[in-house]
């Protein structure tokens, strides 16, 4: 235990030791000066009207290890409290003299610095060390006036900007600051006008104030535009942060989809819509079924991959005499569609990847950094009230939010695993194992069902006319996706976890396994079997349509489930007097991730080349998410209740985004690369009609660039050395891993240092109390001995007179 103060106070133990230890004579002098200090402070404290209470011994909690003095009393006497209150570190917040001397010291330090200091650094002096308080520890206790004069003198030495900044940051009243400023102002030529402002400046101020009002109005309008702010606050206040995390995740997904959609719209869909290719054959009439199946009328539109031309748009060709390549004429900007398609997909994919990784690392960093504020009570109590709120309903909402948050914090702290017997633990493990087995069995059953049904669909002849029959497979898949999670939920009621957070994680795992496996089967079905079955047709179109159908069915089933399923569940629960059901977070979050994975290029072994084959799927997803928000919110308010065991969902959003990133997106990256590099596009439609793989479009272009000239030679060089070879990728990953490892070690080291420093501070607190108690005991002993001596001195005069007589 390192202690910076290490003097030994040996008053009681060794009074006979002369030399280095203080002699009794010195000790009484030292003691008297403290006595004087105590008297002064008590006088001063009485003037200021302090009310110090005596702390009873019951107030210190069981965790506090306050040191007992030699008397054994834990209570601080009034004098002790007064001394504590007047210590330099305590008086910062209150007395003017202390503020003035503190700022005097800061000003002196400012002037002593050789270089011009940053004004921004000035404000953060936390606990000033005793060294800076030369004025306070001065034996000639300076009056406040003299301190002021010193401060004024120092301020005069600063530049105007520094002086003003120093004055602004002082916690004194404005009148006092004005006085200080007056005194420090060196007489210089008055700048600016005198007297009242003139007419035109009045007009100018009127305009400026009007603009200011307009600005305030716009700002409040902007708050209204922020989507769903009030709704989210209501949900958070009423149902807690766990349910709120689901809705926040929905909002995040919406943002991702918008980011994905914009480049696609700009570079591929928009351009293609502006230059439509010639229609192949007749256009079928529009029937309502197209909205569900995505076929029929929609087949030859911008929705699907097949529509996009494989030529360069807007390139006016002069008819070549020998059927050679097109010689571009002047005028018009050539727009190479295949390249645009590939690069836009690549760019959108890249942006999404970077955004995902950044938000994931940000969430991780928030939870695990040194001194993180998750679950901190003090922060909640002191900082949670937003003072900007001016409306009554908004303040009621805040009260609700704070109440829920405080309950959650307490519940998290109270969560303690009661000691269980070995028997109880074994029983719990057995129940867990059984439930897991049953869940995996259900998953297997669903998988087999989907597989057999898809094989059956392949074997039976592919009907193009009765479009309704195409909906059979999506229907089966969605039905299974709906029923299985309810079964999981019923089974999960058997196992009793201690922590509600763990329950949610386990449910997420189970749902994830189910959805992953089903999607895997589907993808094998599409890419493995369908491509073979549709040899001479546009298989990409078909896959796109299947994806669209799946998404629509999924959406419809979700709506039906939300509207009817939760209603039915609520009626059943109320009949059984169990209260309303709770919102099932795991199932809903997994549904969202599943829907999103249908939109993105997907993860192994789930090839979801949705975006690749249907560029407008993100738009559908956006509409779907918006509708889903309102439907879920309505159902939540009407049918569900707040979780019975409130818990703080501080890490939930990190978990959700990690789920989105790792199983969903990272696998997509691998599989998309496989699709681009290996799979042969169909020869009848799409921008990559004539190529062996989609990647060849890029290669062709690079070769053309090489011939283009020295100006763009760096691009083929990059392509050759960075993209084709694998070494740079390994190098980059190794560097990344090294940086992450270093950061982790630094954080660990910082945490250790913080622990040590905290220990040191608490030791010094104990030292302080010990010293004060010692001083008191010495003072009391002195008082007693002095009283005793005075009593002894009284009788001797009587004896002397008697002696004189005789």
């Amino acid at each position: 235990m390192a202690q910076s103060l290490s003097f030994v106070f040996n008053v009681l133990d060794t009074p006979e030791d002369q030399g280095q230890e203080p002699s009794p004579y010195d000790e009484s002098e030292m003691h008297d000066s403290f006595h004087q200090l105590i008297q002064e402070q008590s006088q001063w404290a009485a003037e200021e009207g302090l009310e110090l209470q005596q702390m009873g011994s019951g107030t210190s909690g069981s965790d506090h290890q306050a040191l007992l003095g030699p008397e054994g009393a834990l209570a601080h006497s009034t004098a002790t409290l007064r001394i504590l209150a007047s210590m330099p570190s305590r008086t910062i917040g209150r007395s003017r003299g202390a503020i003035i001397s503190q700022y005097y010291s800061r000003t002196v330090e400012l002037r002593r610095r050789a270089s011009r200091p940053q004004l921004g650094d000035l404000g953060r002096l936390a606990r000033p060390s005793l060294r800076l308080y030369d004025l306070e520890l001065d034996s000639t206790a300076l009056e406040e006036e003299e301190k002021r004069l010193l401060l004024v003198k120092e301020l005069q030495g600063l530049t105007v900007a520094q002086r003003d900044h120093m004055l602004r940051a002082m916690p004194l009243s404005l009148a006092e600051k004005r006085c200080l400023r007056e005194e420090t102002r060196i007489a210089r030529g008055r700048q600016g006008h005198r007297g009242l402002p003139s007419c035109c400046s009045r007009l100018r101020y009127a305009c400026v104030l009007a603009l200011h009002d307009l600005g305030l109005g716009l700002l409040s309008a902007l708050h209204v535009l922020t989507p769903w702010r009030y709704a989210l606050k209501r949900i958070g206040g009423q149902f807690g942060s766990s349910v709120l995390s689901y809705f926040l995740f929905l909002k995040t997904l919406l943002a991702f989809n918008v980011v994905l959609l914009l480049p696609l719209l700009a570079f591929t869909v928009g351009v293609q819509a502006a230059f439509p290719p010639e229609p192949l054959g007749s256009v079928p009439a529009f029937t309502g079924l197209e909205l569900l199946t995505g076929g029929g009328r929609f087949t030859d539109t911008v929705m699907y991959y097949g529509y996009y031309s494989n030529a360069t748009l807007n390139q006016l060709c002069a008819a070549p005499p020998d059927g050679g390549p097109c010689i571009p004429e002047a005028g018009g900007l050539p727009y190479n569609m295949p390249l645009a398609y590939l690069f836009t997909m690549g760019a959108a994919f890249f942006i999404t990847c970077i955004t995902l990784v950044y938000s994931m690392s940000h969430s991780f960093g928030e939870s695990y950094r040194v001194g993180s504020t998750s679950g901190a009570h003090a922060i909640t109590i002191f900082c949670s009230w937003d003072h900007k709120v001016t409306q009554k309903w908004a303040s009621c909402l805040q009260h609700d939010n704070i109440r829920t948050r405080l309950k959650e914090l307490l519940a998290e702290w109270r969560l303690r695993r009661g000691p269980r017997s070995v028997c109880g633990r074994l029983k719990q493990v057995a129940v867990l194992g059984l439930v897991w087995l049953l869940c995996l069995g259900i998953t297997l059953g669903c998988t087999v069902a989907v597989y057999t049904f898809s094989e059956f669909m392949i074997e039976s002849p592919v009907p193009a006319e009765p479009e309704g029959a195409l909906l059979a497979l999506p229907l089966v898949v969605c039905l299974l996706n709906l029923v299985a999670p309810y079964l999981y939920r019923c089974l999960a009621a058997l196992e009793r976890h201690d922590s509600p957070e763990l329950e949610v994680y386990v449910a997420i795992c189970r749902n994830l396994i189910l959805k992953t496996v089903i999607l895997g089967i589907l993808c094998y079905h599409w890419l493995g079997r369908r491509v073979g079955a549709l040899k001479d047709q546009c298989w990409e179109n078909f896959v796109g349509q299947e994806l669209y159908r799946l998404m629509m069915m999924d959406f419809i089933f979700t709506l039906l489930d939300t509207v009817f399923g939760e209603l039915v569940w609520r009626l059943v629960s109320e009949k059984r007097r169990r209260g309303r059901p709770e919102f099932d977070i795991a199932r809903n979050v997994l549904e969202l991730i599943y829907g999103q994975t249908l939109t993105w290029p997907s993860s192994p072994p789930l090839p979801r080349l949705g975006v690749l084959f249907s560029p407008l799927l993100p738009a559908m997803q956006i509409i779907k998410l918006v509708l889903l928000f309102y439907v879920k919110k309505m159902s939540l308010m009407a049918n569900c209740q707040a979780p019975r065991r409130p818990w703080l969902a501080s890490r939930m959003s990190t978990v959700f985004i990690s789920l989105l990133c790792f199983p969903s997106f990272l696998g997509a990256a691998v599989f998309l690369c496989y699709a681009i590099w290996q799979v042969k596009p169909s020869s009848l439609c799409g921008p990559f009609r004539t190529l062996g793989t989609m990647y060849e479009a890029g290669k062709v272009w690079v070769r053309r660039l090489e011939k283009g000239g020295p100006g763009v030679s760096w691009l083929p060089w990059i392509h050759q050395y960075l993209v084709e070879k694998t070494f740079p990728i390994y190098l980059v990953s190794a560097l990344l891993l090294a940086v992450i490892y270093l950061n982790i070690q630094v954080v660990k080291g910082q945490r250790k240092v913080i622990c040590l420093l905290k220990e040191q501070i608490s030791n010094e607190g104990e030292d302080k109390i010990f010293l004060i108690n010692k001083l008191h005991s010495v003072y009391e002993r002195k008082e007693k001995s002095r009283a005793g001596r005075m009593q002894e001195a009284a009788p001797p005069p009587a004896l002397l007179t008697e002696d004189q007589d005789t």
Binding site: L50, L52, S60, G61, D63, H64, Q65, A66, A85, S89, R90, I92, G93, G123, L125, R127, D164, R168, A169, P171, S173, L174, A175, K177, R178, R181, H193, G195, L196, P197, R202, Y205, L209, H212, L216, T373, A376, H377, I379, I381, F382, C383, W385, D386, H387, V389, T390, Q391, K392, S395, H399, I402, R403, L406, L410, W413, I761, S762, G765, E766
Partner: protein
């Protein structure tokens, strides 16, 4: 808007206020306007005072659960002069430096004004935040003990200013939440 601005303020005063507070010129003028609307007509703005009730019923402070403490901390002799109001607006403005805000936050939260935030202060803060009188004793004592466990570094069962400052330094949204727009004219 519709009201006429009474330009009783001299230019040098405006400049001085701008130099000594964190407010911009427009904000100072707006506050000047609001102040004149509330104080009795005909009085020079430098001599007029507002009572604590008048300031408490400003729209910005009306629903604040700590409005009585705020008025108490920033007023002198239970009245507000114009400069007191400016000082208050300056501390709560957006540009104010963190040390100033933390300083005044400490004073506001110290209900019994003994220089520390002790258990009694903490309990009163929690009651104000929850805005209800029937809060269970367990909740209060649990919360206060947790706060002290976290932030009381030298184990004296109270939060001194430096401990408070240390706790607030970790809070990312303290600066955001400790803001009031007093000039909603």
């Amino acid at each position: 808007m519709g009201q006429c601005l009474r330009y009783q303020m001299h230019w040098e005063d405006l400049e001085e206020y701008q130099a000594l507070t964190f407010l911009t010129r427009n904000e100072i003028l707006c506050i000047h306007d609001t102040f004149l609307k509330l104080c009795p007509p005909g009085k020079y703005y430098k001599e007029a005072t507002l009572t604590m009730d008048q300031v408490s019923s400003l729209p910005a402070l009306r629903v604040n659960p700590f409005r009585d403490r705020i008025c108490r901390v920033f007023s002198h002799n239970d009245v507000f002069s114009f400069e007191d109001v400016l000082g208050m607006a300056s501390v709560f403005s957006e540009q104010a430096c963190p040390s100033l805000k933390i300083e005044y936050a400490f004073r506001i939260y110290d209900f019994n004004e003994n220089g520390f935030i002790d258990e009694e202060d903490l309990q009163r803060i929690i009651l104000r935040l929850l805005n209800s009188d029937d809060v269970s004793e367990d909740l209060l004592t649990d919360l206060t003990s947790h706060v002290l466990n976290e932030s009381d570094l030298d184990n004296d069962n109270m939060l001194s200013f430096s401990e408070f400052e240390h706790a607030m330094a970790k809070a990312p949204d303290f600066m955001n939440s400790f803001r009031i727009h007093l000039w909603g004219c």
